[in-house]
């Protein structure tokens, strides 16, 4: 069984983000970069399937830069150190919108022929929550998004996925190949141990210039344009109250919530 797991390089969620004064993006100096936390869950799920299904292979795929300051190879190596077997980086410095990402992934699916693609449900930087769905549409494959549990049938011909939906759980079964996007509670991702980091040294990390995919028909034109980024308004200082009565009073008269 071959599984593709997607990797996006994003700012560490613990880093405090500053918007550039001209609103064209975020300040990237001193930002620590990590694997998108939902992608990490996707990698973990792929590795767990690999551990259960003998002869499986997990290949990481990413689209992004291959040199500082935007070097995704660092995150791919981390994924390899977690236990993935190989990695493919489609090299581009352009910030791509989800549709272009989905198209590029579709091209990779053509050549890699996976049985399953596991992705994060969204990337924590732009929160688009779109690439997985778009990829399924482009490929005409079934999809199960927001997965909180994934189980393969004994013959690995179909998957049963529990999805967290508003107010409950939904169980889907679909034939493979298919797309699963990972939600937060799907699993607790492992971290790379030193032996894993050591093994990753010898694993293949293949780089494909995005131009190669364009020659094969990839359309990199987007439909959206980043107009402006703005930081959220500064939070007002809190207020200490003397008593519960006063709290109730203020909730009523000032906050007007009760």
């Amino acid at each position: 069984m071959k599984i593709l797991a997607t990797v996006k390089r994003v700012p560490d969620p613990e880093t405090s983000i500053k918007v550039k004064p001209d609103g064209s993006g975020i300040v990237t100096d001193n930002v620590k970069w990590v694997i998108n936390p939902f992608d990490e869950i996707a990698i973990e799920e792929a590795l767990r399937i690999k551990e259960k299904v003998a002869g499986s292979e997990v290949v990481l795929v990413s689209i992004g830069g291959n040199a500082a300051p935007n070097d995704v190879k660092e995150q791919l190596r981390t994924g390899l150190a977690m236990g993935a077997d190989g990695a493919i980086l489609v090299v581009t410095d352009a910030a791509l919108e989800p549709l272009v990402v989905a198209r590029a992934l579709a091209k990779l699916v053509e050549t890699e022929k996976p049985d399953l693609v596991v992705m994060g449900k969204q990337a924590i930087d732009d929160d688009s929550n779109a690439a997985g769905q778009m990829l399924a549409e482009l490929l005409g494959w079934p999809q199960a998004t927001f997965a909180s549990k994934v189980e393969l049938s004994g013959d690995q011909k179909s998957a049963t996925v529990i999805r967290e939906v508003d107010g409950g759980l939904e169980t889907l079964r679909f034939p493979l190949p298919g797309i699963v996007t990972a939600d937060l509670r799907l699993n607790e991702p492992r971290y790379a141990s030193l032996p894993g980091i050591m093994k990753a040294r010898k694993k293949e990390l293949k780089e494909i210039p995005i131009g190669d995919l364009e020659k094969a028909g990839l359309d990199v034109s987007g439909r959206t344009q980043l107009v402006k980024m703005e930081p959220p308004p500064k939070r007002q200082a809190g207020k200490l109250v003397e008593s519960v009565d006063q709290l109730v009073e203020l909730l009523h008269t000032e906050a007007k919530v009760i």
Partner: protein, 399 residues
Amino acid sequence: MQALTFGITDEQRTIQETTTRMLRPFEARRQEFERALREHGRVPEEFWTALAEAGLLGAFVPEEFGGTAMGLSALATAADAMASRGFGHPLFLLTGMDALCIARSGSASLQRRFLPRIASGALKLCFAITEANAGTNSFRMTTRAVRRGDSYVLDGEKTFITGMDQADYVLLVARSRSREEIERGGLPKTSCLSVFVVDCHTPGISLTPLPMRAIDGAAQWTVHFDGAEVPAENLVGEEHAGALAMFNTLNPERVLIAAGACGQTERLLEMSIAYASQRVVFGSRPIGAYQAVQHPLADLRIRLEAARAVTMKAAAAFDAGVDPSEAGTYANMAKYLATDLAIDAADRAIQTHGGSGFSEDVGVIGYWERTRLMRTAPISKEMILNFVGEHVLGLPRSY
């Protein structure tokens, strides 16, 4: 924030991340962890298990014995990252350097017997060289190891031995040739020591506790050897060549101390910045707005970059196998810079925190002793200056 360090590799960044992740569950219950440490005088056992699972106990252990042999740069990176988060285990460094000694100088069978269990976390090791009447001058030691059949018989006393009660084995440096033998034979004075891996529970070994401070999670002991027998196969390296085996181990220990001191500085800075950013006493500006508070912290940050660069250079030199005297120069310099820096960082952190700097709950005051220790042990500041004066500057030996 773990600032970018000159020359840091992607792999080292991954090791930082691995260490941070390994610490996460402990971070989530830091207070409980620290309380257990205070009450029992020991680091909770799960911490050791976590170190083993992350592969950090096998950094000097070859792959064939279950380690990675990733080396000193990897381990120093982890030691720095761990201290940056305010965590550590006193037997981590000791076990690491003992593993290195066995891996570099031990026989194949000794390696096979010990290294896999070190990498897996099954064994903890401590280290005993210091004696009351020898001190810095190890060649004055009197603890004897005398060959009798298939064993060596140990007699004498070591002191200040950290964690002897928790460890399974102690790496012991003892005198295998008497002074008379050395003098009579006209032998070099360095050819009198041998190193052994000794089971801490061997009959004939007894411990007296010492009322010491400065190390969290492990007490110091005077260790008495009264005819304790150690199998001859537990000799590390050649008989009488213990000085060389030790020499190979003490430099990396200095680098690891330096890395830990860099991490402690990072931690103290972080605590100071957080406090200085929110503490308001005059008007509405936080104390961090005052240059008297801000500049010393900026000074520490600048010196931290320098200390880290020298520490990683020392580690890289060791890993690259450069001439030990050159690697030793960087190791000593790193230890000198980083430990003095950590002491200053503790001082500034206390000052920045005002009275809270003395509160056990705030957790800054503990660093006062923790960092100060490193100016004295395992090697004093004076001995480093002696080394640099003599071996780097080429000036006459001062003692």
